[in-house]
């Protein structure tokens, strides 16, 4: 009987999948009401709790012939994905009902995308990583097109699926080249094969480049970012928040595993590529964001720039850099979802596409305006917010790795980014609104803002607790090769 403890290690994924199926089924009734959202939220919460208190903490176990790995790294990322999914459900509950999105489909796709991300972080096998990526991608293409009568949403879905399909193909091609050069799909064995081989084969190098490009598309790194502004602007707002935070974090998780575990011998090569990409990405993202007049395009280009900062950590890839990356991704997730919550709140009452629409928000919704201000401070990286420590640890890692010039470029980029973030804050407080009626917020949006705000401030004031957690994370699991 193959039924053993192995299944227990995948219980979080199983619970989320079941919740997705139940959410779809409850969405069938004509008066579905809150049921699908509640089921989705319960599933995500149960899975997250299970990860926190469940069995097998503090050990690395590889199951199912080395196709699935459960270790601290996977567990932390899964927890992050679940928190992102949970916050997205909170934000989306009201949005989905108001915009007439079929709730069953929305929560099914959202949870399946989450499961895909969980498998991307939880495996050393290239095929499993690819399957996770496809599960995430296919769900997110559909999610971006769920506003069926909205031209921007349809355009976003079409662009995303076309570019996403090419990037999937690129990744798969890269994986097949790596397999051809090393004879294994398991990253541990790939690493052994590469280090024992004499010299570096061109095939392996080509495979590495294909992987960099394919994952670069998912991270929205310049010059592979062309889809990002359109998708983040056109997709339903909660979906955009989910993709910016979750999809990007999953791509970084997969990249960390692939390059640090599988291809450490090619470190000099991929470091050079990632440093270049990181510098281009953050600079281009920040400069493009300055000229944006639409709030979600601004947040989209800001997401591109943030991806550049995170990529600095991937380029350096020291222990300190990886910890800084994890810290940054977590801090950034809370901040981004928080910022999107305020955008969604305003969009309930009036068109809120342009930055100008935020006029007078300081008077109409003081709490939310204050929250957005703090989120913007966190994006810039000003204490006492989470974003400050995220950037600070990345600077530290860059200097520690003997690349102080990289830290200088990051600081310059931070300064470039101040005007456009601050422009939003200025509009909120210094411009008068025509309609001064106070905004009322449904409880989901209120809670999502409070959680985002709380996490941004707590991580900014007391970073030590999370730093201890991320410092203990090993990207390369210390376990014997399974077969």
């Amino acid at each position: 009987m193959p039924l053993d403890g192995d299944v227990g290690l995948l219980l979080p994924e199983i619970i989320v999948t079941l919740a997705a199926v139940v959410a779809l089924a409850t969405g069938l009734r004509p008066q579905a009401g809150r049921a699908p959202a509640v089921w989705a939220f319960l599933g995500v919460t149960a899975a997250a709790l299970l990860l926190l208190i469940g069995e097998g903490r503090g050990q690395a176990v590889e199951i199912w012939s080395g196709t699935v790995l459960v270790d601290g790294f996977a567990r932390l990322f899964k927890l992050v994905f679940l928190v992102i999914a949970g916050l997205t459900v909170l934000v989306a509950a009201d949005y989905v009902r108001r915009r007439g999105i079929p709730p069953g489909e929305f929560y099914l796709l959202l949870l399946l995308a989450t499961v895909g991300m969980m498998f991307m972080a939880g495996s050393l096998n290239l095929l499993t990583i690819y399957l996770g990526l496809e599960c995430l991608s296919l769900a997110s293409y559909s999610l971006s097109g769920l506003l069926r009568r909205d031209a921007r949403s349809t355009e976003a879905a079409l662009k995303y699926i076309l570019i996403g399909a090419i990037s999937s193909g690129t990744i798969l091609f890269g994986m097949s080249l790596v397999f051809g050069a090393t004879g294994s799909l398991h990253l541990g064995e790939v690493s052994q094969a590469v280090s024992s081989a004499t010299g570096m084969t061109p095939v392996l190098l080509a495979g590495m480049m294909f992987l960099v490009v394919g994952l670069g598309v998912k991270m929205a790194a310049v010059p592979f970012h062309m889809w990002a502004p359109d998708v983040y602007d056109g997709a339903p707002a909660p979906v955009a928040a989910f993709l910016i935070t979750g999809s990007e974090a999953a791509a970084f998780a997969a990249a960390l595993r692939i390059f640090l575990v599988g291809l450490p011998s090619l470190r000099a090569e991929w470091t050079a590529v990632f440093v270049t990409l990181a510098v281009i990405t953050m600079t281009f993202g920040n400069i493009s964001a300055i000229v944006q007049t639409r709030i979600r395009r601004l947040l989209a280009y800001s997401a591109v720039a943030q991806a550049g900062y995170v990529m600095v950590g991937l380029a350096i890839a020291s222990d300190a850099a990886v910890s800084a990356m994890l810290y940054y991704l977590i801090a950034y997730a809370f901040t981004t979802i928080g910022a999107f919550t305020v955008v969604i709140l305003l969009a309930r009452h009036q068109p809120a596409d342009e930055i100008q629409d935020f006029r007078g928000l300081g008077q109409r919704a003081p709490l939310f305006a204050l929250a957005l201000t703090i989120f913007m401070l966190s994006f810039i990286g000003i204490p006492p917010t989470a974003g400050f420590f995220g950037k600070f640890y990345l600077f530290q890692a860059a200097v520690g790795a003997g690349m102080p010039w990289l830290a200088v470029i990051m600081v310059i980029n931070g300064i470039i980014s101040i005007p456009y973030y601050w422009g939003v804050v200025r509009t909120m407080y210094l411009s008068e609104a025509e309609d001064r009626s106070p905004l009322e917020a449904p409880w989901g949006l209120r809670w999502a803002t409070v959680i985002g705000l709380g996490a941004t401030l707590v991580l900014g004031l007391f970073p030590d607790a999370l730093v201890r957690v991320v410092n203990a994370i090993q990207v390369v699991p210390g376990l014997p090769i399974a077969f």
Binding site: M1, L3, V21, L24, A25, L28, P102, G183, S184
Partner: protein, 118 residues
């Protein structure tokens, strides 16, 4: 590891060879007797009207999509049914879970009126 794929290669070659061989045999054995009526769309003598390439209803697409899902499902069901006796209850339960998920989707599509021809 790579040697294990020799079997796959041989399998592919035999598969392709089988098709080529039969086509070639047919070509050698059959009588060669072409005449224009053989090339008409309806050999029963019906005269075709209009173009063959016309826009057809988009509603077929959703049926095709549902068909593909169950087409792929069968690919999983065949090997499963062959070894079910050896794998026992565990495999049975797993497949039931898989089928329930597919049926969940089908029921959803059905209830949404996708299967109704409007």
């Amino acid at each position: 590891m790579l040697q294990a794929y020799t079997d796959v290669l041989i399998f592919l070659l035999v598969g392709a060879g089988f098709v080529v061989l039969n086509m070639a045999l047919g070509r050698l054995l059959r009588p060669h007797n072409p005449y224009p009526e053989k090339l008409t769309p309806y050999e029963c003598g019906e005269v075709p009207v209009g173009e063959g390439q016309v826009p057809f209803n988009i509603r077929y697409y959703i049926f095709a999509l549902l068909f593909v899902v169950f087409d792929v499902e069968v690919v999983f069901l065949f090997p499963w049914s062959v070894v079910l006796r050896d794998l026992g209850l565990y495999a049975f339960v797993l497949m039931v879970i898989f089928l329930v998920m597919l049926v969940d989707g089908l029921v959803y599509a059905w209830k949404k009126g996708v299967l109704r021809w409007v």
